[in-house]
């Protein structure tokens, strides 16, 4: 498969005694949005950490952006795959200005015209230049998450990994950030892998989803078929039921 795609076949990860990913397999096409759902501890984030090269201890076959993922990826690899983390209060350095936060990946990868790139990245996520010389604590949660997205996009990646990008945000801000991600995906043709425990969020963003439980993928399905026929696996059905139970009956 071509650039921007992800292939994972029989991925296994062990942390000492704990076998946290067991024969995980799935494929994400170029430009597709794919969701990973499951409860905490099911291994969703570990999958992202392997794909982003943060976890180097894995077995199996992984292809990212059309190339086999080595155990120790080279610097250029990290340009093509970027990650946005859950908690924008923890993922931005408190002593660095937004400008410094965005300049760092550019310096690491030796990209030219940092000024222009920083301005463009901020504009892309809907922040004006006035934010450039502020510190993270001067920003709201939604604005910080926008900065985190700008930091990921500034390297012009083809694949964006999103680890619960909106679960720390208010619902109104969540809607804004999800809309922003949709716009960016369409405009930049990004491949997105979205991890969430919220099936409604995944359903809104993605076309296909893999359901994980205790380190295994128990089901992979189209969102449409989940919506219409429910899941095959008992756990998927439980997740759908839970999501419907809390959906407002007659909104």
């Amino acid at each position: 498969m071509g650039p921007g795609s992800i292939i994972v076949r029989n991925l296994n990860v062990r942390f000492g005694e704990a076998h946290v990913l067991k024969d995980v397999s799935f494929m994400v096409g170029s430009g597709e949005s794919f969701g990973l759902v499951g409860e905490s501890g099911s291994g969703k984030s570990t999958v992202l950490r392997v794909l982003s090269g943060l976890n180097r201890n894995w077995e199996g076959v992984v292809e990212v952006d059309g190339m086999p993922l080595p155990q120790r990826p080279e610097k250029a690899f990290f340009r093509s795959v970027q990650m946005v983390f859950q908690d924008p209060f923890a993922s931005l350095h408190p002593r660095m200005t937004i400008d410094a936060i965005l300049a760092e990946p550019l310096a690491i990868h030796g990209l030219d015209q940092p000024d222009r790139r920083i301005e463009r990245a901020l504009a892309e996520v809907g922040l004006d230049g006035g934010f450039r010389f502020r510190f993270p604590h001067q920003l709201s949660g939604g604005q910080r998450q926008r900065v985190a997205i700008a930091r990921a996009l500034i390297l012009e990646p083809r694949i964006l990994l999103l680890d619960e990008p909106t679960s720390a945000l208010d619902v109104s801000i969540q809607a804004e950030v999800l809309n922003l991600l949709q716009d960016l995906k369409l405009r930049l043709g990004l491949t997105m892998l979205l991890v969430s425990h919220n099936l409604a969020v995944v359903g809104h963003m993605c076309s296909r989803v893999a359901v994980m439980k205790l380190g295994r993928v128990v089901e992979e399905a189209d969102i449409d078929s989940l919506r219409k026929q429910g899941g095959q696996d008992a756990y998927t059905q439980e997740l759908i039921a839970a999501s419907r139970r809390v959906a407002l009956a007659s909104a």
């Binding site: 619902v171 109104s172 409604a200 969020v201 809104h204 419907r244 959906a247 407002l248 909104a251």
Partner: protein, 282 residues
């Protein structure tokens, strides 16, 4: 409920913070009564919902100031009460489950000892009795191996487990009123349902009053009896929880509108348009 003194009565509660440049008003004129029921306070961050809970417990941090026309617990005036008397109410009669277990548990004490300590303090009990009660309480909040978890430190438990440990600690004193500040937002949906069952049982069996602070409207609508919707420290709307989806106020409608729904796919989520006039008047 008629003829009974309500558990909590609050009238025109205001919480202010004096800063060098201006006065920040976190809560502006909130009134409610709480019986043996589940009352929800919903709103976004900064709406003043957590400060309301803290004001009831006398836990508003300096330089905050709490003003109210009346604030009573079971008929006792809280405003005129000494700090010492307020402290005695805290934990034993009114307790609060905080939002984040990472910051609210003592990092250098095992979780079991923290729960037992709460029991010893409030019930004047001996060590071994407190230990037994703590273990039973851990089991009540559905922790699978209470004896093992008892000896773990907070950093060794997961977020969901930490949340349950805090709930156990707050419930062990058997309070009359429990203020739960986003008690389930860190939990998986399946565990969340179990924790809600525990709270539900306490309200129906023991007649506890529950103030459930949350930004999760669907959850609140399914779980609570009444809902107060707050924005900018002000009450926008107060209505029966089941009718939350029929809320009339523009803010309530806006919050409901921006939720994604599995069964109603939309191309773009609606975003909330805020209106300054919501904060005027009253």
């Amino acid at each position: 409920m008629t003829g009974q003194t309500p558990l909590v009565e609050v009238s025109n509660l205001r919480v202010r913070f004096h800063t060098p440049t201006r006065i920040v008003e976190a809560v502006r004129g909130l009134s409610f009564t709480l019986g043996r029921e589940k009352l929800a306070i919903v709103g976004e961050s900064g709406s003043g919902k957590s400060m309301t809970g803290r004001a009831l417990l006398d836990l508003v941090p300096w330089p905050g100031e709490v003003l109210a026309d009346a604030m009573r617990f079971k008929g006792q005036d809280l405003l005129g009460m000494s700090g010492e008397a307020r402290r005695r109410l805290r934990g034993r009669h009114i307790s609060m489950v905080m939002q984040d277990p990472k910051f609210s548990l003592n990092p250098v004490m095992t979780v079991g000892r923290q729960i037992a300590e709460a029991y010893q303090l409030h019930r004047k009990a001996g060590k071994s009795e407190a230990r037994d009660r703590a273990l039973a309480m851990l089991e009540d909040v559905l922790i699978r191996e209470p004896a093992r978890v008892f000896d773990l430190y907070p950093h060794e438990v997961s977020g969901g487990m930490g949340q349950r440990v805090m709930i156990a600690m707050m419930l062990i004193g058997e309070p009359d009123v429990l203020i739960a500040d986003e008690p389930t937002s860190a939990l998986d949906v399946t565990v969340q349902a179990q924790i809600l069952d525990i709270l539900e049982k306490l309200v129906t069996d023991r007649g506890m009053g529950l103030i459930f602070i949350s930004h999760d409207l669907p959850l609140v609508s399914a779980f609570c009896d009444r809902v107060i919707v707050m924005y900018g420290g002000r009450v926008m709307e107060s209505l029966p929880a089941r009718e939350l989806s029929k809320g009339q106020h523009a803010y309530t409608r806006g919050l409901l509108g921006c939720l994604p729904d599995l069964d109603r796919p939309v191309r773009r989520l609606a975003t909330l348009q805020r209106d300054d006039s919501w904060l005027q008047g009253g």
